[in-house]
Symmetry: C2
């Protein structure tokens, strides 16, 4: 909705001016800020303008507050980013018990991918941020529950969880920015590869490039292919473990 380019005012328009913001008089004191409002504003700012534009001053500008005031609600910028990640991750659909575990985990992964599509900055912020908040822990607990109930040992469940999320986050980080319309063949990499063919270079990459020129790269299919690979492998391991027992 809101445009991104630097605002016309480097500072917020003077509150007493009354020209731009006519409805604001002293009778209507502005609603007070809180942590959640700050986090939500930061998320939507990042969604619209990228994570780099989430600066204290810009965020303050959006909330019609000076940057320093934000520190009444967050401890630091790092705290802010952590809260944003938490907020984004909380949008990932919760696995429902009672469904076959494989389907549950697949849906969770696809839901996560949708979340990362909405919040393209999120995957890049997930690292060793501790994620020990009650919401995160509850979420982890529920996922582990699905796996344990399916027959995985606690350690195997944790392993499966780790492997799945590694793939999930890793795929997201590599997500190429090219849309299908743009197509690989118009990317710079393709240009360089194709330019090198006459000199005998990059023959294998060239074959891939030509393949993609005919059938454009389907990101979704590629993701689900790898996901299926891992889920099948986990299922096989589960079967092997349970028959051995």
């Amino acid at each position: 909705m809101l445009v991104c380019q630097e605002s016309l005012f480097t500072e917020a328009p003077p509150a007493t001016g009354g020209i731009i913001v006519p409805s604001k008089n002293s009778k209507e004191p502005r609603e007070t800020l809180n942590r959640e409002r700050v986090l939500r504003a930061a998320v939507s700012l990042a969604d619209e303008c990228g994570i780099d534009s989430v600066t204290m001053r810009e965020l303050g500008r959006r909330l019609e507050v000076k940057a320093a005031s934000l520190y009444n609600h967050i401890a630091s910028r790092d705290d802010l980013l952590g809260g944003m990640v938490d907020l984004a991750l909380s949008e990932i659909a919760v696995p429902t018990e009672g469904v076959f575990w494989k389907e549950t985990m697949r849906r969770r992964a696809i839901s996560a991918r949708e979340v990362f599509a909405r919040h393209r900055w999120a995957a890049g912020l997930i690292d060793s941020r501790d994620r020990t908040g009650p919401d995160s822990l509850a979420y982890v607990d529920r996922v582990l529950g699905v796996l344990i109930q399916a027959g995985f040992s606690p350690a195997a469940a944790a392993n499966a969880f780790l492997v799945l999320d590694s793939y999930l986050y890793g795929f997201e980080r590599q997500r190429p920015d090219v849309s299908i319309e743009d197509g690989f063949e118009r990317s710079e990499a393709a240009r360089k590869i194709l330019a090198a063919i006459p000199h005998g270079g990059y023959q294998n990459a060239a074959r891939v490039a030509m393949e993609y020129a005919e059938h454009p790269f389907d990101q979704e299919a590629a993701f689900e292919f790898g996901l299926g690979l891992i889920l099948d492998g986990l299922e096989r391991q589960l079967g092997a473990d349970s028959t051995r027992r």
Copy 2:
């Protein structure tokens, strides 16, 4: 070798002083800088002190040069980071042809993991950075060659490559900082989980925590478990495709 804490001098000691740096006289003009020296210095600085301490001024201090001078050799800080990633990735062992593809890919992954252990900042910098330099392209071409020669179609080879690297980078990003000595049971997450048990919370996470208390988490084993899962899946897909044909 070199310590990290802020240097004793906020500025480099005056070059003309001759007290700290006695051997430097005008007869011995310092060796001139170049892009590679800058990149290597940045890598070792990041290795020793973390990526956050790779600032233009600190890097200049290490090279006994003012920050602005670095711009004679790199275009921007982003260019610097890109070059550092390139340098790190070039340390990943090149797959050798003639060996069974699965073993080749496994070795490549493990080599990459060693590289990421040496350069802990590297995995975090790999994103949609373009990687279209000649070295990167040659590397990609070689990996694709191994897969295509093994019987994968060009598209399937690219898919396999993407899936494997997603897992690789993703696992690295999630790599917990706890060493085995520290152990999971002493981590903050474990503390919170165990504290919640009496109230009936996080039961599944608790079972995992107790499991890890007995048998500490083996990161290497977990990584290779997932890697094996993916490689087995790829092999199965390869077999199915070739028999169908």
